[in-house]
Structure formats: C-alpha cells, structure tokens
C-alpha cells in the first residue's frame, strides 16, 4: 500500500502533485520529476505542490536532485518546510 498521490503533467512544463509524499511513494515522485524535467528540455519545470498535504525528507530529496531544473509552487502548508530544509535557497520557491 502506498500513500495517495496524484501526479499530473502539463499543460506546458508543469508537474502538479496532489496528496501526500512520503518514503512509500517518493520514488514514484522522483521518477515523474525526472521524466518531466527531461520533457521540459531545458526550460525550467514548474513543480506545483500547492495541493500536497504532506512532504517528508524523501520527497525533499527528489526535489533537491532536480533543484537546478525546477521552480516550486507551494501553499502555506509546505512553505516552512521548504524554507527550513534549505531548498528555497537552491531553487525558486513561489507562493501560489
């Protein structure tokens, strides 16, 4: 059983995640991220996390791997986490 997570690509260079990301589905998330970054072919990929209720360090790790290629869109729930983890220093984090 994995945690509920919905990943939607597009339109454009956008990957939208909804649900929760933890170690049970972090690999799925990382794979989708890699694939979307590849598809975006050099232009920055916007990762929309506004509908993510929970993100743990496994999910964060996937974001760090792609930090140079993405911009992150976040809501109030994840904002402190992205700040404290240091991701906001390595990549653009925008509030939705």
């Amino acid at each position: 059983m994995t945690t509920a997570l919905t990943l939607t690509t597009g339109p454009g260079a956008v990957l939208t995640a909804a649900g929760e990301i933890d170690m049970s589905n972090a690999e799925t998330f990382a794979a989708a991220l890699t694939s979307a970054v590849t598809s975006a072919a050099g232009s920055p990929l916007t990762v929309d996390l506004t509908a993510v209720q929970y993100l743990d360090s496994a999910g964060l790790a996937a974001l760090f791997v792609q930090a140079d290629h993405i911009e992150v869109l976040t809501g109030p729930i994840l904002a402190p986490l992205l700040e404290i983890s240091g991701l906001s220093e390595m990549t653009t984090v925008r509030w939705a």
Binding site: M23, S57, A61, S85
Partner: protein, 1437 residues
C-alpha cells in the same frame, strides 16, 4: 448502529475476523436458522452488534436458542468450550447451569422483560471441572423483523476474581483484627480458628499441627470438622481433663491441648473422629524443611472429609509449614482446597499469608509467655531476697542475745564449777560468738545491699590501727607454727576509715591467711603509694587455682577441695571485705599462685575527698583503756562502732574461731578475760553503772568503789562518750561529773532526757561547786540527784542504790513503752505542735538513717526532698506536713530522702494526742518504707504508658521515638538511646537527645553498646555510675536499649527488673506493629486488586489511598466502564463508614453502578436505579456518587451527582471551575424521585479531577477551602503528565498527620494519549499520519503546528522503518503522543538498531533528524541493543 451498513454483506460475521471465521465455519444448514444468507435482517444486525462489541456478550436465537458469542465472552467465560459451542443449542452449551439460567431465559421469552442478576454463583464446566464463578448479567429479549420474540441477548460481566478476592481479603483482615497483645497460645488458636472457620469456601477444612518437645506433630486446632470429640477410650482415662479437651470454639472449630501441656498426652489425647486428623497422615517431615507440599486426598484416610460449603469434599490439600524465624517450623497447617477453584498463585499466596499469620501468632504468644515468666521470676527473686535479709535481723539476733547474755552470766558465776560444766559453757560461748559473727556479716551485707550501711569515717594513722589489729592475731599465728611479720611504718597523712569496718577487713584477711597457710608465714605491710595508702596481707599458703581467681570475691563462692585448717565457712568473708573496701572508696586486688601463696592488696586514698558523705568525727581523745566495751559481740545493731570500742571486741570472734582450728596441745585456749580491756564491765549481779569523769584518778576511784559494791561499771572520759555508751546499752544509772570537756554534765543530762530510751535513766551529778544554785541548776536540767565533792563512799553508794530503786519503780512503765516502741517494725515518731520531731524509734533510724542523736529534728526536716532539684517532691512533703499539723488524724505517702541521699517512699499515718503530763498537743505517727510498692505501682503505670505508646504508633520509627521519650520520663534519664543492629555497617540510632547519633557518641559508649549487643536478650546490664542497657529483638535486627540515668535517679535492682519487663513488652509491641504494617500492605494490595479496573481507558489515571491509621480501607471507590457505543462511564463514590462492612457495600454499589450504566447510559437514570437498589442494601443509604458518561472523542460529558463533591476542571489557560450542576441528594435518600443531569464539554488539554471527600475534608475547616486547595493543586498540575498527576495531587494535599479518611481520585485529561503500534512498512505511514492529525485536532492544535509535528513524527517513523528494521522486516513500531496543558510529547520506539546516518549512502536521510530538530523544541534519540527511542517535545500553546 451506524457502522453496520458499512460492513459488506453477506459477511455478517466480518465485525470480528477471528470469531467471525469460526462462526462462518459452522454448518448452519444443519441448524434451525439455516444458511446466513437467508437470515432475517434482525438476526444479522444482532450478530453484528454482538461481534463488534468489546463487552462480553452471548445470544441465543430461534426455536433451539442457537448459541452465538463474541470474542470477549470467549476470553472471559467460555474458555475450552470455544468454538465447539458456536451454533449449538444454548441448553446444550450451558447444560451444567441450565437449571439456573433456563428459567430466566424462559421469562425473557415469555414476558419480553429483561432479567437482572448480580454476582450469581455458577459452576461452569469450562476448564475440565465445575468451576466456581460469579457473574453479573442481564438477559434482554431479541425480536425478529416482525417484532416477535425469537431470542435473547446476554450482557455479562464476570466478577469471579473480585468476589473471591474480597472473600479472601476478608479472612485475612479478620485474622489481623484481634487487638489484644497478651494472649495464650490456646486463645490465639481459638481466635484464628473462628476466623478460618468463617471462610469454608476457600478453606473447606483446616488442621493445625504443632511440633511437640519431642518433635512429633500434634493436632492443635481444626476447622470444618463437625464434631471432633474424644475417642471412647480416652474419655474413660482422662475424665479430669474436661474442659481442656473439649473444643473451645463455637460451631465446628476446635482447639486442642498444646503439645507437651498437661491436658492430654500424645498417646491418649483427644483425637478427632476423623482418620485424617491423625498427624501421621500428613508429610510432616517434608514440611519441616520449610516448603509447602500439595497432597492428593485419595485413599482410605481421606474418605468422608469435611466438604466446607461445597457438596463434595476437597480432592487436594496444601500442607504449609508454620515458619519460625531462623528455625524449624512451629508445625504445619493443612488446608483443604476448594475443588471448584484452580490452585493458582493467588490461592497459594492466600494460604501462605494465612499460615504466616498463624505462625506469627504462635511466635508472639510464645515469646510473650517466656518473657512474662522471666520477669515474674526476677521480681519474685528480688522480693524474696529482700524479705529474707530483713527478717534475719529480727529472727536471729533476738534469740542470740538471749543466749549470749545468760551464757556470759553463767561463765562468770560458774568459775568454780567442775571442768566438764565449764567446758560445756565454753563451747556454747564460742559457738555463740561464731554464729553472732556470721549473722553480723550477713546483716552488713543486707545493709550494704539496701544502702543502709552507715559509715562513720575518721582520720586515723592507718599503720598504727592496722598494726594494732594485726597484733591481736600474733599469738594465734605463732601458735600455728608460722612466722608473722608486721611491717607498718607511720604514713605521711591520715586515712579516713570507719574503724568498725576496717577491723572487719583486716581480721577477715588475717583469718583467711591463717586458715589456708600451713608452712611459712603471714606478712602485713602498710605503705604510701602516691595518693593512696596500700595495705598488703601476704601468706605462703596453698594459693588459689587460676581458674578460681575471677570468682574469688564472689559471694557464697567457696573453693572446693582446697586444703585448709577447717571446712567451716560461708564463703562470704572476702565478698564482705570487697564491699567494705568499696565503701571507703578503695580497691582490693588479689594475686595468687597455687602452692606458693596469696597476696591481697588494698588501696585507700588519703584524705576524704573521695568519700560521698563524709561527716567529720574527731579522733577519739583520751586513752583507749578508759573507754567502755560492749558486753555482747552480737549486740551491735550497726556496723558503725562506737569510736571508743576496743578493737579486740570485734577481734574476739575471729580469734576464738581461729584458735579452734589450731591443734590442741600446749596451753589451753586463752580465756576471754585475757583478751579483755581492763576497764570493761566486770561481771556481777549488781546494777550497771555508767561513770563519766575526765579525771582519771576520780574515775578509777569511782570504778573501784562501785565495783566493790557489786555493781557493773563502765567508765568513760567525757559526756559525749557517756551519751554514746548510754545509747548503746542503757545503764541502770549514770554517775557523771558536771565539769567535763566536749559535753558537760548538764548537757549530758539534757541529751539523755531528750532520747526516749534514756529519758528514764537516773542521773547522779557530782560537782565540786557547792551551793544551792548549782544544785537547782542540775535538778532543773533533769538530774535525779546531786552530790557535792567531797562525798563519802557510803553516801555515794546509798544515793546510787536509792536512785536506781526509785527509777525502777518509776520507770517500769516507761521502759515497757520504750521497749514496745523499739520493737515496732514500723518507724515511730512524736512531733510537737511546731512539727519538730522529738522522739523516734530504731526503725525510724533504719529507714531514714537519722538517729536519736540528732533530736529534735526541726522543720524543714533534713529528709525532705530538695526544694530546688525535686520541686514536686518537696511540694508533696510540704502539703503533707501542713496536713499533719492541722488535722486530728490522717495518712499520706510521700517521697523522702535517706541520709545517704537515696530516695525512698514512705507511707505514714498520724494522730494528734494530748500529752497527759504537759497538756500540750503532740502528734504521734508511724510510717513504713513503701519504696518497693511504689516501684510496683510505677511499674504498672510504666507498662500502661508503654502500651499506650505502642498502640498509638503508626509505624516502627514512630513507636520507638514515643517509647524512648516515655522511658526517659520514667527514669528522669539524661537520655535514652536505641541502637538497632541491622545488616548495615553502623547501627540505626534513635535517641531522645536529637544531637546524638552513632558518630557523635563517645567511643567508650559505642564500645559498650557493641558489647551489649552480644549479650543474651532481655538481660539488663548496669554499669556503675554510667547507666543501664538491655538487648531485645527489633524486627530489623538486634536492638540495644541504653538508659543514661539522671543524677536524681540512679539505677537500682528494682529498676533493672522493670527495664527487663518493659524491654520485653517493647520487643513484643515492635514486632506486632511490624506485623500490622505487613498486613496493611497485603490488605491494601488486595483492596486495589478489587478496585480494578484491570485496564484504564486512555487518558485516565486513578488512585486509591487508605486512611493512614492501620487497616482503614473501606468505602471509597472509582470505576471506569467502557460502554458499547465507545463512550466511557465514570463513577466515583463514597460509602458511609470504614472497614469490612463499608468495603462490602462499596463492592456491591460499584458492581450495580457498573451494570446499570451498561444497560442505560444515562447518568441520572443510572443513579435513580441505584437509589432503588441501595434502598434494599443495608449500609448503602447516603453513599455519595458522581456518575458521568464521557465521549472520549469529543470530550462531551453528561453527568449527575448524588450528593458528591463537585468535580474540578482545570483549563489549559490556568483557570479552573467546578462541575456543580446536575446535583441532587445522596443515594437512596428519596428513592423514585427524579434526578437532574448536566452536560459539559471538556476542552482540549483540560484536566478533570473527580475525588472523594477524604481528599478535601479537614477538621474545623469548611469544605470549600479544601476544594479550593484541590483546585490550586489541579492548576499546578496542568503541565504534569496525567499518570504522575494523581501522586502529585495526593502529596500536595496530604494533611500533617496523613489522611484520616480513605481517598479515591480519578483524573482525566482530554484527549487521552494516542497510542499506535504498526509494522515497520512505509505504507503504514499515511494512516499513522492521519490518526495523528485527528488526535492533534482533538488536542486543539493549530494547523501550522500540526504540520510541523506531522513532519517531525513522519521523519521519526520513516527513520524507524528505514534504519531500525532494514535488516529485520516486520518489526513493530510504537508511537505514543500525550498532551499536557502547554506541551506535547511524542515518543517513537522501534525494536531495531538505528544506525548513525551515513551521508554517502543516503545523502538526503540526514535531513530527517535536522527537520525533527527544526520543528520540535527538544529531541532526544536513545539507541540501545533492544531498539531506539526518539523522544520529542513541542510547545503547543
């Protein structure tokens, strides 16, 4: 129920996967119900409710009442019948109890009304035997879809453990309820049997055997046997043993004669009718090793055993030793086992406690008996000794005097009689002397013993005195063929001695030396050695064997088989010598070698600073030869000799005796005359005349003149000696010069007249001063006649004769009176109107030490207690004295002080009389020494005071402290100390002086205590001038009790006896308190077990505390009940009263409340039903109850209070308020009336406190102030974890002397902690988060904080999965979250190894810990071999 629809049909059984699976496996087609798919909805619903309930239930449906049950019922009740019972007819499942439950089910099915049974005893065949079990249950009807009655549902709670626990506890409590300390073994066993006989459920029968002196067991008591009676044979042979042999107890409990007692021996004693009571039936040998033995009761001897309350006899019995501390058991207890209960740890524990109690009782009574006997023996011995010695004086001395007087006369008269007659008289005389010497020695001892020896010290040249004494022995020693060396050079300083005593010392030693020396010689030497004079008496005799040396000075100890000149001797001489030397403040030591000789060395200090009551006596002036001697050596009433007594008078008996040892031959024994002083009275028939004149020529003349006339004359040199001589032996007439040194003739007359014994003695004064005036002066002073010098011989003799004759006529009456008064054993006194004592008798002097020479004694009398140091005593005497002067007659008992400083008690009676001659009012009184009686009274009151201390004490330390204070008061001691030698390095010291402990004690005292520790118990030891100690048994080890006496109250023999008695009682009392402590612990453990509940719902904490005074458990209770809908019933109640009765009522109300709440979850209606129930239960009325129903999800509380104090709510912001709505009267006050109900929603992180009034009720203070204090305690505890809060609140509110009422406390904090356990799989993370999120919401935590906590918790769980269980998949992880008012604590525990983060292997994992630390206030990771604990805290307010 809302959940039913969500359960997927057709899986009617899915609410419980386990039981559901077994239900699904039943061949339903074979039952009247058919396949589950065809079941009506009503049946499916009923089964679902059944399975989803956590409460124990079973149900029956359809024509055969087909059986269903849930998991709880399986676990609690069904046991081995599962799963066989499923789907079977109920009648078959419960065949063994169908007689009980069948009619009830019929009632439900025919009337549609529910039944209710509480604590019903049912014998269930669920463990292979009919098991005694108790059930509280309700049968309610089940209806089908059409509303017809088709089955029944049983909601049941099994109360077996509670009921049986209460029953056993009751027995233990009853066993411990006997308050008396002093009991005999029989009484103790009778009491115990009565208690054991009352519980024939757990103890169908018991047999108590005690090992006799021969080690063979004998039956001492039994319970359960209907009629243990004497066998026919023994009735005939022992008719006299009734009623000893008849069972004492009522009913069926018997006590038998103790082993070894007279009543009934082991062969012919009383034997129960039953074979199994014979001791040989039981494995006594195995039990004697200390282990219980389980015996199968199969075979002939066990046929027909008592059954107790059951229909059949026990099949097994446990044989338990009655343990004796540090020894083989006292005996053993056979307990028949309840065949309807398993023999489990709790049953075994109960029986061991019973056996332990019986053994403790035996230990207690036996040691009590032994101590009692010992103390009585000691006291009796002491009394006998005192009586014996005081009787001796009167019984021996009188006849001896009457023998020796006539013998002296006969010797004088029979000088011309035949040799044979003279020889006979000499034999009588010599032996009379010997007997007199022995009696005097014994009397000296009794005086020393009673402290009545009055020494009169005077400074002497010890060398001269000793040499003179020694010279008396010279001829005897030389006659024995021994050399005699006297080496006594003058000493530089005088030594103070009482001459009479010193004579005895020297003469005894010399007599001893002569007795044991056959060759060589005897040497007496005196030397100065520093501050002491040293006198040595050395012989070359047989010597003393080394092993005898330590006992050399022991009284009545004689060295057996020693070669000596005589076998006579009492063994008392050296002991007396030692005592006399001690009285002089000196020491005596002996050195000896067998065959070489013995040397005694006496050391006496110079000066008189070491003498306690030295009163200066001037050296006897004048010449010794001119002083009187005493006619009879046994006439001395006191060891105090007349200072002028010639030495040889006392030497006479010694010499007479010594000379008899020597071989006859040569000269015949010297006659008495050869040893006598020239001026002693010459035997004669005439009157005795005492002559006092300082002129030697006149004295000689008078002596010659009077002797020539046939008078017996004693001549002295002045008035003082005359007075002493007259008092020693009253002469017929005194002839005295007027002009004399020290005491002249007129003063002598006055002194003689003042002493009643000499008041009637005629005095003839001689004076050179002629003239009428002098004559009148003399006659005024009380002289009978007056003669002027020069006078003619004839005139003198005529006047003497005339005065003697006149006095005889005149004084006959007075002499008779004087003799009578002196013969009184009671002290006698006459006082004048002012209270001055003007006349006394010799008993007065004996008792108080004040003699007639001091008369008159003016008030304040010298024997009054000191006004400063003994205020009370002084006042008592002053009050009595006032009474003596005012009242015509009366009696009183007062403390008085002997001349030597001892304190005595005297009981006096007095009368006022009028002196017929003078017409003046005088007071005549008598008194006796009642010191011994006073001590007995003090002993009784001391015992009573000690008993009170012990009965009021709450623990061992308290008892000891109180008792020491009491002992200090009894003895007016400086301090009293107890040192308990347990196993630790230094003893535990308790002292009335708080500054003293083991470290601060003087080294010398520590050593003394250690030495005492090794002494046998209860044997008092007194150290001179230091104090007394005794050893006794304290529960923790040997205890040494030490009494440091105060100056006013030195320790006497009577005090030692009292100390032994008190110490014995103290030991008993301490052990008893120790037992009560242990029993209280046991009782409390049982009470808590009854209270339960086994498992508290989450978020609750409870506490029950009995009252501080022993064993006051009772009426308070708390309870939580998990209701079928997930809500929780909360009950806190308080029954009226304490003890077993209240505990029983409590148990019933608690069960009733529990069952009522399960049936109807309205608190008000529950209390109304409880009103009806309690009205029928004696003792239940007026109980107060708080009853509430709480939804743990929302905190919503519905409650109703029956007169109970309001619950307290503490809000997270620090405010508190009371749940004071929904209040009404206590239970059963007006049954049937409505009760109100109130609602309240417990806010997140608020704390709810329910309690009984013991927590807040304080004497002389309003309840509201206690409640307000409790509110404060709750406020202080808002941040305390709920499980610690009960203790904190109880501690904070503890009154100074502990709780005097029992207290029940129930606490709830909303919401209860979240506890999750899940397998270490990443897929579990989402549901865990979801649960945690929901719980945080119930805690009222805001969204942002919630997110932080979720991340921290998620990381901790992820780490546990990732690291902890990487190598061992499937391990479990536990998460626990608990909140206080302001904080949250989160603990994640796994069972694996948490490896340190390895950044290269898992670059992102290190971030987890960082996130935890970022989002939480404190994070602690503890990793060990058994797993890892992550403990995090966050502020949430």
């Amino acid at each position: 129920m809302s959940g039913i629809e969500r359960l997927p049909s057709p899986h009617t059984f899915s609410a419980d996967p386990e039981v559901g699976t077994d239900l699904a496996a039943v061949d339903w087609a074979a039952t009247p119900l058919g396949e589950p798919e065809q079941w009506p909805q009503s049946l499916r619903t009923a089964v679902s409710i059944l399975l989803s309930s956590r409460f124990s239930m079973w149900m029956a449906w359809g024509p055969e009442l087909t059986f269903f049950c849930n998991a709880a019922y399986r676990r609690h009740t069904l046991h081995e019948k599962y799963p066989w019972a499923l789907g079977r007819p109920a009648r078959e499942v419960w065949a063994e109890i169908w007689d009980d439950i069948g009619p009830r089910i019929d009632t439900v099915l025919s009337t549609g009304e529910a039944t209710w049974d509480e604590g019903l005893l049912l014998f269930l065949e669920r463990a292979g035997y009919p098991e005694e079990s108790y059930h509280t249950f309700s049968y309610s009807p089940l209806r089908d879809d059409e509303g017809g009655l088709v089955g029944m549902l049983c909601v049941v709670s099994e109360d077996t453990d509670q009921v049986i626990g209460e029953r056993r506890m009751g027995t233990l409590r009853d066993l411990g309820s006997d308050p008396s300390v002093a009991r005999t073994e029989r009484e103790m066993l009778a009491f115990t049997s009565r208690q054991l006989g009352r519980n024939q459920a757990d103890l169908p029968f018991t047999l108590t055997y005690l090992f006799g002196d021969d080690g063979r067991p004998e039956l001492a008591a039994s319970t359960g046997f209907d009629n243990p009676h004497p066998t026919p044979g023994s009735e005939g042979t022992h008719p006299a043993t009734e009623p000893e042999g008849t069972p004492l107890a009522t009913g069926s409990d018997g006590v038998y004669p103790a082993p070894g007692s007279d009543a009934g021996g082991s062969e012919t004693g009383f034997v129960s009718a039953h074979r199994a009571t014979a001791p040989e039936v039981w494995p006594a040998d195995r039990v004697a090793t200390g282990e219980p033995v389980l015996v199968e009761l199969a075979g002939e001897p066990f046929a027909g055993l008592p059954t107790g309350v059951w229909p059949d006899p026990p099949t097994r019995a446990l044989v338990l030793p009655l343990p004796r501390q540090g020894g083989t058991p006292y005996g053993f207890l056979v307990a028949g086992l309840n065949r309807h209960r398993p023999f489990d740890d709790s049953y075994r524990g109960f029986l061991e406690l019973v056996a332990g109690h019986v053994a403790a009782g035996i230990a207690s009574t036996r040691s009590y008996r032994a101590q009692q006997r010992r103390a009585e023996e000691l006291a009796e011995l002491d009394r006998a000794k005192t009586t014996f010695f005081s009787n001796i004086s009167h019984e021996f001395r009188t006849p001896l005097t009457l023998i020796m007087g006539p013998v002296e006369d006969l010797r004088a008269r029979l000088t011309s009689a035949g040799d044979e007659v003279r020889e006979g008289i000499e034999v009588i005389h010599r032996n009379g002397l010997r007997l007199g010497k022995l009696v005097n020695t014994l009397l000296d001892f009794s005086r020393i013993e009673a402290g009545r020896m009055q020494a009169r010290y005077e400074p002497v040249d010890l060398s001269a005195v000793t040499a003179e004494l020694a010279s008396a022995f010279r001829s005897a020693i030389e006659r024995a063929g021994l050399t005699f060396e006297v080496d006594c050079p003058p000493l530089p300083e005088p030594v103070h001695v009482d001459l009479g005593m010193w004579e005895k010392v020297v003469l005894n030693l010399l007599s001893n030396a002569l007795k044991f020396t056959f060759d060589g010689g005897v040497r007496v030497a005196v030397r100065a050695d520093g501050p002491d004079a040293v006198v040595t008496v050395t012989d070359t005799g047989v010597g003393v064997p080394e092993e005898e040396m330590p006992r050399l000075f022991e009284r009545f100890h004689r060295i057996e088989n020693a070669r000596s000149r005589s076998n006579e001797g009492s063994g008392i001489g050296l002991a007396l010598v030692q005592e006399l030397v001690r009285l002089h403040g000196g020491t005596i030591a002996a050195q000896s070698e067998t065959g070489r000789g013995t040397s005694f060395a006496i050391r006496l200090p110079f000066g008189h600073a070491h003498l306690p009551d030295y009163t200066g006596v001037p050296v006897a002036g004048g010449s010794r030869e001119a002083t009187p001697s005493r006619p009879s050596p046994v006439g001395a009433a006191s060891a105090q000799p007349d200072p002028a007594t010639p030495l040889s008078t006392n030497a006479d008996p010694f010499l007479q005796e010594a000379l008899r040892w020597l071989p006859p031959g040569g000269a015949s024994p010297p006659t008495r005359a050869a040893l006598e002083p020239v001026a002693g009275p010459v035997p004669g028939t005439g009157t005795s005349v005492l002559v006092a004149d300082d002129n030697a020529d006149m004295r000689d003349y008078l002596t010659r003149l009077l002797r020539s006339a046939g008078h017996r004359v004693t001549a002295v040199v002045d008035g003082r000696y005359a007075l002493d001589a007259a008092r020693a032996e009253v002469p017929d007439i005194v002839v005295s010069d007027v002009m004399m040194p020290r005491l002249d003739g007129l003063q002598l007359v006055a002194a003689l007249r003042a002493d009643p014994r000499t008041a009637g003695t005629p005095v003839l004064l001689l004076s050179a001063r002629a003239g009428q005036e002098a004559s009148i002066e003399g006659l005024d002073a009380g002289a009978d006649d007056y003669l002027f010098k020069p006078f003619s011989a004839a005139e003198l003799l005529a006047r003497v004769r005339a005065n003697v004759d006149l006095a005889r006529l005149r004084n006959h009456h007075a002499r008779w009176r004087t003799a009578l008064i002196d013969s009184l054993q009671e002290a006698f006194f006459v006082s004048d109107e002012s209270g001055a004592i003007i006349e006394i008798n010799s008993a007065f002097t004996d008792i108080l030490g004040y003699g007639p020479e001091g008369l008159p004694y003016l008030p304040v009398h010298p024997w009054w207690p000191d006004r400063e140091s003994d205020v009370e005593g002084h006042r008592a005497v002053a009050d009595s004295f006032a009474m003596l002067l005012d009242r015509p007659y009366g009696a009183y008992t007062i403390p008085v002080v002997h001349r030597d400083g001892r304190r005595l008690w005297a009981a006096a009676a007095f009368n006022q009389v009028r002196d017929p001659e003078t017409g003046r009012r005088v007071i005549v009184g008598t008194f006796r020494d009642v010191t011994a009686e006073q001590h007995a009274v003090q002993r009784d009151s001391a015992l009573a005071a000690l008993g009170l201390c012990l009965s009021e004490a709450e623990n061992l330390d308290g008892a000891l402290t109180a008792v020491l204070a009491e002992l200090r008061d009894i003895w007016q001691a400086t301090y009293v100390l107890a040192a308990v030698f347990d196993d630790s390095s230094s003893p535990a010291v308790t002292c009335t002086d708080p500054a003293l402990n083991w470290e601060t004690l003087p080294e010398q005292r520590r050593a003394a205590l250690l030495a005492l520790r090794a002494r046998p118990v209860l044997t008092p030891v007194t150290e001179e001038h230091a104090g007394s100690g005794i050893t006794l048994e304290h529960p923790a080890g040997t205890m040494v009790l030490w009494i440091e006496p105060g100056p006013a109250r030195p320790f006497s023999t009577a005090d030692e006896t009292l100390l032994a008695l008190l110490a014995g009682h103290l030991g008993q009392g301490l052990n008893r308190i120790h037992q009560i402590d242990q029993q209280r612990e046991t009782a409390l453990a049982l009470q808590r077990a009854i209270l339960g509940p086994d498992r508290l719902p989450s978020g609750f904490a409870v506490r029950y505390e009995p009252a501080t005074r022993p064993l006051k458990v009772g009426g308070d209770w708390y309870d939580t009940i998990e209701l079928a809908d997930g809500r929780i019933g909360i009950v806190v109640g308080d029954c009226v009263g304490h003890g077993l009765q209240a505990a029983t009522v409590m148990g019933q109300l608690r069960s009733a409340c529990r069952a009522l709440l399960l049936r109807d979850s309205s608190p008000a209606r529950t209390l109304m039903s409880l009103d009806v129930f309690a009205a029928m239960l004696p003792g239940a009325a007026c109980a107060t109850v708080f009853c509430g129903v709480l939804d743990p999800g929302t905190g919503h509380l519905v409650y109703s209070s029956a007169g109970h104090p309001p619950a307290i709510v503490g809000h997270p912001d620090g405010s508190t308020h009371l749940l004071d709505q929904g209040r009404s009267r206590p239970v059963a006050v007006r049954a049937g009336a409505e009760r109100p109900e109130a609602e309240f929603t417990v806010p997140p992180r608020a704390t709810l406190l329910l309690y009984t009034d013991g927590l807040v009720e304080r004497r002389r203070r309003p309840l509201s102030s206690g409640i307000s204090e409790a509110s404060t305690a709750v406020r202080h505890g808002l941040g305390t974890p709920i499980e610690d809060l009960a203790t904190e609140i109880m501690d904070r509110l503890t009154p100074d002397n502990g709780y005097d009422d029992d207290v029940a406390v129930l606490l709830y904090r909303h919401p209860g902690p979240l506890e999750l356990e899940f397998p270490a799989e990443s897929g579990r993370l989402a549901p865990v988060r979801s649960a945690l999120r929901g719980w945080l919401e119930r805690c009222g935590v805001d969204a942002a904080t919630t997110q932080n906590i979720l991340v921290a918790a998620g990381e901790a769980c992820a780490n546990a999965i990732e690291h902890g269980h990487r190598d061992s998949p499937g391990g479990q992880i536990r998460l626990r979250a608990a909140a206080t008012a302001g904080d949250l604590r989160l603990i994640v525990t796994d069972t694996g190894m948490w490896k340190n983060p390895d950044p290269t292997a898992n670059p992102y994992r290190g971030r987890g810990l960082k996130l935890m630390r970022a989002f939480m206030q404190a994070v602690t990771v503890t990793s060990g071999t058994s797993g890892t604990i992550v403990d995090m805290q966050a502020r949430i307010s």
